[in-house]
Amino acid sequence: MKLYKKEGNIVQILSFPNETVEKGDYLLIEDGDIGKGLIVQVIDVQFANIPGILEELLRSLPDGGELIQGEDFDPLEIAPHITYIQDARLLRCKIRATMNNESLSPNSSWLPSRSQSSIKKLPIPTLLKMAKTTGKLPIVLGGTKDSMLLTIDASSVDGRLNIVTGKKETGKSHLSKLLMLNLIRYGAIVVVFDLNGEYTSLGMTSDGKRNAYHNKIHVLAPSQNFKVLLKQLHLHVLLSILIHALHLPGTSAREFRTIWRTLKQKDNLTLHELGEAIRNSRCNHHVRDALFSRYYALLNSRFFTDNVAEAMLLKESLLKAKNQGGAIIINLRNTSSIDRQIVVEYVLGKLVELLTSWKLKAVFLFAEEAHLYLRETYWDDIVTRMRHLGIFTTFITNQPNTIRENIYRQADNIFLFNFTNERDLEAVSRAARVDAETVKSIATDLPPRHCLVLGKVVKDFPMVVKVKALDIKTMGETRLFFKDMN
């Protein structure tokens, strides 16, 4: 390989056919004279612009588009040299860091010698070792192209905002499960908003047996095994549900607050009593109608109950998980859009309550397709206020444009799977830790289950990894009409 050109932070390297370099690979351009090296990443592989190549190709196809047949008597065996030159490649590489005495710095203000520098592939483990990505809490994400393991540290997702995105069926949920199980392994509390019921069998192996995580996975299905007593609720949580999920106007909310306080003073906070109190309220009949419609929405969700035996204490599950690590899977699969919002409002409200009172240290929240249940104001809340309280969110989506730009801008880690649509990639490119060129060039060529990891987990050295397989029962498979016929 030979250093050819540098423009901005792009380096062009001439590579020959016997040197196998692919997109995503790291190269070290070492200038021995000054004892420094430039670490670059291949973001595109092109054919080198060889003079005369067009003539070469044209003359091989003069016979009506068919290859002209013939024999070459080439005694000096020049032909291999011709193909060697013809197949020369130009590697477009992005400068990632400077290596100086085994230490890395983001400095790229110097230029290695074009004639004297040596260029070699930099193995991923060597780079990771230099970048010090691994710590005491290793998480093996999978294998790199050169069959090396890519290991990150769990602490690099701690306190961070993460995004897992990619086309359908590329392996987003699989990676999320991998991250989640490893976090649980290290004693973390994980809460999952499971839109399609994909995470419900995390505690089972692929053949249906219990795995090591079985006792740490708590699946809560709203209106089934997940119901709450009104008594368990704080007024502000219920008001959040009424205002944000059920769009209760301000005046009606004020009336509701009065009714609630009255019932609480009487220690009579039940669904039945709440309904009666609204009915007997002396407020404006429009307000009463508004309150009634919300009351019936709460009732119909079957998420609330007056039966103490039916009620489930989320707090207890979370505190149980606190001791040994565990995941609370909120299965939203069979929940309607409004009910979903009610449940999410309740769970987030409860989490904030427990975190504010320091009953919980921190929670890792995994939110699948969050735009379907997260209210507008929560987006900003999650990246600012809730993060400081200890809710560290991972958004998982196949529609990257549904995540707001400010979320991307503040994302610490992005796990990017294949996208072919340029608009999707444009959305992801807005992330502050990503350069658009790398994303667009590498993500479009990622095979299924391969992920481009960007951000703090890899110390800003974008890496392509084939996410390792997990021995867990697969859920959330698409229902197929012709499945049995094949």
Binding site: P51, G52, I68, Q69, G70, F73, I78
Partner: protein, 359 residues
């Protein structure tokens, strides 16, 4: 059939046409190529991509033309069309001389398909010291006589690429004239002999061999210096619908130049392109016309030029990519050190110096 006669036995390294073809010349090419390159080993090497143009310096006076166009009608009777061309290029300089490459291509069209055989590239390191030895050795091998020498002495260093290419071309022409039956053999250039690289005896032999096998040799010149009434013969306006040809008569070449063909101007397709066409003098006029009509019926034409000959030219010409590959080969295999000798034009005249190749 040519394909059958050019039976190939593949050896691990070389595949020579066998057995009716005299392969001593290409063998000699290889020997001298390798020998000359070995003597260039470890020398500094100045890259150069200057192409050589073969300039004919025919001194022929034109006095008459019939200006009577002979109309042509394509004959579709299946006839093999074969063509030969060679190319040479200087690929760099050394302290003692230069490194050149030569390649030849033979094309034949049979049953609507083109086939080719390429010879080379042969790479030579030619110096003032070895040029005579190299050229004479090749010439002796080609002429198949240990005594027959070039009476004009060895060519100058600058003439070496074209002269070596000419030797290869003559050998290819000889092989075709001996192997093709009832066909049309197309040469690039004229049938003028007596100049340094066109020995009369050899051209005569080629034409004799071709005739014995009922072939007709047609030589197309891309450029001509022959003029009539001040016009280039290919520019003479003729009011006739192509395809046609008209004969140029009264040509008086200065000795030792001899015309072994009758000279015509052929305009074979619509458009502004006409070519000087030399057809073997010993062939009857009717046969000449018939040959050209067969060519019209058996080959494709673009801008009045036969496709077979065009392909021969295309396949032997060196592309820039190949030049780089050959430079790569000699620097790797013979460890020639590449040097960048300054271009004196650019050095002296700055932006006004356009480089030596354009001077």
């Amino acid at each position: 059939m040519l394909i059958k006669q050019l039976a190939i036995t593949t050896t691990p390294k070389y595949s020579f046409p066998q057995p009716t073809i005299d392969t001593s010349l290409p063998q000699r090419f290889i020997e001298l190529s390798i020998h000359s390159l070995k003597h260039a080993q470890n020398q500094p090497f100045q890259l150069n991509q200057q192409f050589f143009q073969q300039n004919s310096s025919e001194e022929i006076q034109t006095t008459r033309t019939t200006l009577q166009p002979i109309p042509l009608k394509p004959r579709l009777k299946e006839t093999m069309v074969a063509a030969v061309d060679t190319s040479s290029i200087k690929i760099g300089e050394t302290t003692k001389g230069m490194v050149i490459a030569v390649r030849g291509a033979t094309i034949w069209k049979h049953k609507r398909h083109y086939r080719y055989m390429r010879f080379g590239p042969f790479i030579f390191h030619v110096t003032e010291e070895n040029k005579k030895q190299v050229y004479n050795a090749l010439q002796r091998t080609y002429l198949n006589s240990p005594h027959e020498h070039n009476h004009n002495g060895s060519p100058s260093l600058l003439q070496m690429p074209t002269r070596i290419a000419s030797l290869l071309e003559r050998w290819q022409q000889t092989m075709l004239s001996k192997t093709v039956n009832n066909g049309l053999i197309l040469f690039d250039g004229s049938l003028t002999s007596g100049i340094n690289d066109t020995p009369t005896q050899r051209i005569k032999e080629i034409l004799d061999n071709a005739r014995k096998k009922q072939n007709v040799v047609l030589a197309f010149s891309k450029m001509t210096t022959l003029r009539f009434n001040g016009y280039l013969i290919t520019d003479i306006p003729v009011k006739h619908k192509p395809p046609y040809l008209f004969k140029i008569t009264g040509l008086k070449p200065k000795p030792p130049i001899i015309l072994l063909g009758d000279v015509y101007v052929a305009k074979l397709t619509k458009g502004n392109y006409a070519f000087r066409l030399d057809i073997d003098k010993q062939v009857l006029t009717e046969q000449k016309i018939e040959a050209l009509e067969k060519l019209l019926g058996n080959d494709l034409f673009s801008q009045s030029y036969p496709e077979t000959l065009r392909l021969a030219h295309i396949l032997c010409t060196f592309t820039a990519n190949e030049v780089i590959a050959m430079q790569h080969f000699i620097t790797r295999k013979y460890n020639l050190k590449i040097i960048n000798r300054p271009d004196m034009h650019k050095l002296l005249f700055g932006p006004f110096g356009k480089g030596e190749t354009c001077s």
